[in-house]
Amino acid sequence: MSNFAKTFSSSLGKKLVMALTGLFLCTFLIVHLVGNLQLFKDDAGQAFNAYAYFMTHFTPIKVVSYLLYASIIIHAIYALIISLGNKKARPIGYAVQAGNQNSPWTSRNMGILGTILLVFIVVHMGDFWWKYHNADLPYAKYEISLDNPNDIQVSELPYDANRLVHSEITDLQAGKRIVVSKDLYKIVNNAFQTWWYVLLYVIAMSALSFHLIHGFRSAFQTIGWNNSRYLPLVRFIGVWVFGVLVPLAFAAMPLYFFFK
């Protein structure tokens, strides 16, 4: 075996893979969150649909998105391999084990939390990513006044296989910009009218919170970053940004559509 292969088959190497894919997923969460904030705009989804088009058709972003899918799969596979190895390391368990007295709950349940996340990711991608790419979605036509960009007339166009996913023309005579795009916003809006679907999202975001309250700082420990000056910052970001802010902001989206 080459040194490289040996490294990644060692217990530490497998953890390095978990940590690096996990941190990459964390950076993705920030991008995904900032983009999705367009959902809160009061523009009938114009900005959000334009953003969805950009994210799926701009080559550098497409490349990164394949890296992302790979990271999710690798992270999950290594989670399974590591967890099975850990089970084997203690074939006979304790009759009594007071784990709650020596370690946080989150740290002992990363596998369960991760499994909830995996189920969520599959459902979530099936409902939005897959539909956006493959289903016969309706289109939205936005007529935006050139004088006042907040003046938007929206109308629905039926699905048409020949229509571009996104098109824009500026009609100077009529004084407006006409944008036609696949209406993912509508799909999102419709999905979040169902209470149990909203609940699923809220539960998944709680799981994300707990997964990252432990996971973010754990990844830094795994890669060997334990500089005592910056460790408090890592912990702060792990708990408050990834454990609180990010999951709360994501959970606010389904709730916003449900109660709107």
């Binding site: 040996k6 217990s11 497998k14 953890k15 203690r90 368990g93 009594v96 740290s107 830094f220």
Partner: protein
Amino acid sequence: MSKNMNLTLKVWRQKNADTKGKFVTYQAGHVSPDMSFLEMLDVVNEDLTKKGDDPIHFDHDCREGICGACSLHINGRPHGPKHGITTCQLHMRSFNDNDTVVIEPWRAEAFPVIRDLAVDRGAFDRIQAAGGFVSVNTGGVPDANAIAIPKVIADEAFNSATCIGCGACVAACKNASAMLFVSAKVSQLALLPQGQPERYHRVQAMVAQMDAEGFGSCTNTGACEAECPKEISITNIARMNRDYFTAKLIKQEEA
């Protein structure tokens, strides 16, 4: 003087590594709160011996918290309910009259049960032998303090060196990981000038042996640090990880 206690003990009994074990319940009467946990077991064993029964086997040696021999998983925690001590330093005053006390051996694939509560911790010795040393050529005796070492570094290395190899870290870890022990043994040398020549070889050899022994991997739960009688810090684990990845991915040294 406080009153003597009556306790119910549920003790893991197992003839040898190849037989299946089970819990056996014993009544321990007239337990003085001033006894150590091991002394309490000594008294129980005396009764068992008088009755012609097999005494409960458990490891012990120094009985003053420095050898690491005593083990015992007591009511769900290595070395019992107190922080920063070994089982021989645990006193019966930490328990109440009529308590039930569950006593189990360390549980890990790499620590097979020898008999009852005694486990074979030879895996730790083999990890040490794989690289936990410095090679010193013979010759004249060097002057003491000829090599200047900053106080903070010396202290840090000393703290890592206080590990007594008890295995409580493995016992406490949900993955039966030996990372705290191995990282303490790697760190105590990696921090000092004398440990530098073999630094990157050492970490690779010891981690390889750790994996070969069948310990689990580290989820960074911190249970090891919380249960370690010598309060070894998980900072050692991060340091070992860093040295290991540096050795494998950056340095030229062969494993």
